[in-house]
């Protein structure tokens, strides 16, 4: 057996469709027996948020950010044709019809396949997100954590 290949993905975007693409590739790569890491930064961190409100000591601005950003993968908007939230509703119906996996399902599947989900701690501070608000499976790191994986990765994507 040759050494295990690696796929790393930087998920910067907080759009439902782009996150879906990232997680489909991650799940596919895991099925390819790759060691897969998704590094979440900026708006991509919202995909890792729990959907319930979490009590915490935040400043006014941090609280406002927390309110304005989608709380969890299911609440994210589309990069195109969002129509103030109508777009995601419509596309979710179409996805159901075609038996496509929803973003929360893709994230669960990724966790089941041992895909590593890393949250960038520096951007968490900027957006006022704390560890209690993110899924339990998430690991924390910085740019070095990403580079450490990416430098010997065969597939490196920025989405």
């Amino acid at each position: 057996m040759t050494e295990q290949k690696k796929t790393t993905i930087v998920l910067f975007s907080g759009d439902y469709d782009k996150a879906m693409a990232a997680y489909i590739i991650a799940n596919g790569a895991a099925a390819y027996d790759h060691e897969v890491t998704i590094f979440h930064t900026f708006w991509g961190l919202n995909a890792l948020r729990k959907d319930e409100p979490i009590k915490s000591n935040k400043s006014f601005i941090e609280k406002a950010f927390g309110k304005m950003m989608p709380r969890g993968a299911d609440k994210m908007g589309l990069s195109q044709m969002n129509f103030a939230g109508m777009g995601p509703k419509m596309i979710k119906q179409v996805m159901k019809k075609h038996n496509a996996m929803t973003l929360p399902q893709l994230i669960d599947m990724a966790i089941e396949q041992d895909v590593r989900l890393i949250a960038c701690t520096m951007t968490m501070d900027l957006l006022g997100l704390n560890e209690g608000e993110l899924l339990q499976e998430v690991e924390y790191g910085g740019v070095a954590a990403y580079l450490g994986e990416a430098q010997d990765g065969q597939v490196n994507l920025f989405i």
Binding site: N27, G28, A30, Y32, M101
Partner: protein
Amino acid sequence: MSSTTFLDAKGLACPMPIVRAKKAMKDMQTGDVLEIHTTDKGSVSDLTAWAASGNHEIKDQQQESDVFKFWIQKG
């Protein structure tokens, strides 16, 4: 003795056919055959590429109306 495992992936969309195929292969012995039925059109090239990457061999491939059938031997 090689045995055949059956996997029904009909109705599943990308990336599920290969995710399920990988899971099924994990519990199989080298030389065993996995029979997969799918309906996703992309799964034809997906499974072919996936099998090649994992050193599995596609022994047979058929299409019956909308259903694609594969017999993949674990390598």
